[in-house]
């Protein structure tokens, strides 16, 4: 039984590791447990008379949700050059992209689960378990479909390639290449549909903008790969895997284009609101300069803008200065900037001012931050575990051996 021995060997591979590996995994598990405590606290905390949730309907979790959907684009950014343009250096590492996409979707679903009031009723979303999806009208239903589709595609591809690597058989191209190609439109659709969730609400003029989906795509092509570039270097260092610099710089090049479009689209958005100056400008005004003395969002967005522009300049200068260090700085900046711009600074102003003109400001609470970190750690843990398997296979540690396995 190859499968059984694969599972056995895979578990062995995951359990065994170096000290830094144990430290890292232990740290992530600690964060997850902390997040779990936070989640528990969230549901049992003392409630006051008025609840901010009536006004700022979605907390930081939904910002993270939008951001993590973007991170899931990591896969497609590796898959397109690898399988559409046959860029060999990236083809070698494309599988990490798939693993990251899967892990990111887990973070996406985790962010949703910690936000909804009745996570225990999740089966209402599963048609095969008696649930109902409000198709075709609800964008959230569509998101459930495409996110799960994308997650399944990526995990199937990744597991298939890992398993074939384990057995030493040649992966069947007729099976996995079509799946990879299908995952490209799926990747586009997860960003589009996620943008449409916000985009389609006439009640919230801040989101009701036609360039939202392109903006989501552009920022996704920045945030996901930036995490990918750093992760690949860590894997290279600790896993002893060959990752060519040329692949990293190729990814960075695509990110530079994406960053340009992201900044351009954001600028277009700001222009439209400010130049028109209708009442619908209020949320943008709140974001950029504060509204009636309420300005908690202002430092966030300006930090993001400064980081975005700095990162963009770094990325275009990478053409001439091929410095990995500079690349890493750019990646960290972009990751933080997009997290702000597409997360907290995107969701919260949608609710400020509220539909009846009320202004109630929101800052993520400590508990919400812990829970968010827990969700992030869960995704990273999955990514770590799967990467460990891939590394195990590529270094030949994890291999099907008839004698020992039986």
């Amino acid at each position: 039984m190859k499968i059984l021995s694969f599972i056995k060997d895979a578990i062995k591979e995951i359990i065994k590791g170096s000290l830094p590996y144990y430290a890292w995994v232990g740290f992530l598990i600690f964060l997850i447990l902390l997040g779990a405590w936070g989640y528990y606290h969230e549901f049992t905390k003392e409630l006051g008379y008025g609840s901010l949730e009536q006004h700022v309907v979605w907390p930081i979790y939904i910002g993270n949700f939008a951001f993590f959907v973007g991170v899931a684009a990591a896969a497609v950014l590796l898959v397109i050059p690898a399988y559409v343009y046959h860029f060999q250096a990236i083809k070698e590492i494309a599988i990490y992209g798939e693993i990251m996409a899967f892990s990111a979707i887990v973070m996406v679903l985790g962010s949703i689960m910690v936000d909804v009031g009745r996570a225990d009723r999740f089966w209402h979303l599963l048609p095969f378990m008696g649930g109902i999806l409000n198709l075709p009208v609800s964008m959230l239903s569509w998101d459930v479909v495409v996110l799960n589709g994308y997650m399944i595609l990526n995990i199937v591809i990744a597991l298939y390639l890992i398993y074939k690597g384990y057995t030493g058989e040649h992966p069947n191209k007729k099976f996995y290449v079509p799946l990879i190609l299908i995952s490209i439109p799926f990747a586009i659709s997860i960003h589009t549909v996620t943008a449409f969730i916000f985009n389609g609400l006439g009640a919230r003029p801040f989101w009701n903008s036609a360039i939202l989906a392109p903006r989501f795509l552009a920022s996704a092509f920045c945030s996901g790969p930036s995490l990918m570039i750093i992760a690949l270097q860590i894997i290279r260092r600790y896993g002893g895997i060959k990752v060519q610099d040329v692949a990293l710089f190729k990814i960075a090049e695509i990110m530079a284009y994406a960053m340009f479009f992201n900044l351009f689209l954001f600028g277009a958005e700001v222009f439209k609101e400010y130049y028109t100056g209708s009442v619908h400008m209020a949320p943008m005004e709140y974001l950029m300069q504060g509204l009636h003395g309420h300005n908690k969002m202002v430092p966030w967005i300006w930090t993001a803008i400064v980081l975005d522009i700095t990162a963009f300049l770094i990325f275009i200068s990478l053409r001439n200065i091929r410095s990995i260090k500079l690349l890493n700085v750019g990646c960290v900046l972009i990751f933080i900037a997009v997290w702000i711009e597409k997360g907290h600074a995107f969701i919260t102003p949608g609710f400020i001012p509220g539909v009846l003109g009320e202004i109630h400001e929101y800052t993520p609470t400590f508990v919400e931050m812990i829970v968010s970190l827990g969700v992030f750690a869960l995704g990273l843990l999955l990514f770590t575990i799967f990467s460990k398997l891939v590394v195990g296979i590529e270094t030949g540690r994890l291999k099907y051996n008839k004698e020992t396995s039986n």
Partner: protein, 303 residues
Amino acid sequence: MIDFKEKFVNRRKLIKLFATGVAAALAPFAAKESDAKIDWEEYFQKHFKLMTKEEKEKLVKRLEQKYKEKYKKEFKVKISDAMQNVEFGYALNLSKCIGCRRCVYACVKENNLSRKPQIQYIRVLRMKNGEFDVEKSEHYYEPALVPEPGYFYFPVQCQQCKKAPCVKACPIKATWTEPDGIVVVDYNWCIGCKYCMSACPYFGRRFNRGEPVIPENEINTTVHYLGNRPRPMNVVEKCTFCIQRSREGKYPACLEACPVGARKFGNLLDPEDEIRQVIDNKRVFIFKQDLNTIPRFYYFFHD
């Protein structure tokens, strides 16, 4: 200061909530404990619209028993359907409204709304004469006497839209428009994602994170499944034109509480009805018409 006793009770409730799955597995062993059995049934309850008549009747019995145990009172849980040839409409005379908020509290009482956290379905906005801008409105005005010179008042509640953005948003059809035009929520189906709240342009929906707290002597025991029954926590709720009253031919509670007769309610399909008299004879408008939600809630200015 944290009240430890209350906290403890809350925790117990939470554990109960998330232990339903466990309870389901243990149900055969804990058959004697009716509590676990009820939760189990609730957990696997079907969508209200998909239930047969028998299932609905069973549900009513179960809820009545549950509420009896919880509130020590006899409840009457109604599941009455929409009347034939009835489509409800509401009109509010802004020239008359004095901003006294009697409607707000009548609604709270009739509909068993939580007092802590505070949930109110009606918001009264105070506007300066010469302005009709919600962003400049005041929600928290508290003068000694109303009406105040130089202001007018603009009460907003669920507008029961014909093209309701909230219904469109819900990912699991937990909220829908009834044949008589009332937008309802199946509180036992809602997963609390709050997408409908983001979609609503009228601040018509509320989320209740916490067991609703209602003074014991103010509990209304005449309830409707889709209306004012004691709500489970962590789901979305809203105004239903007092479905438990309006489906019996009665006026909603907010209308009867209004001291100036600014509120008008009735059947839009009956030309003789007072709501139609308002619409046909006076000049009415709807709030945020540009969003094309087509409310069944009209406003008018008429002295």
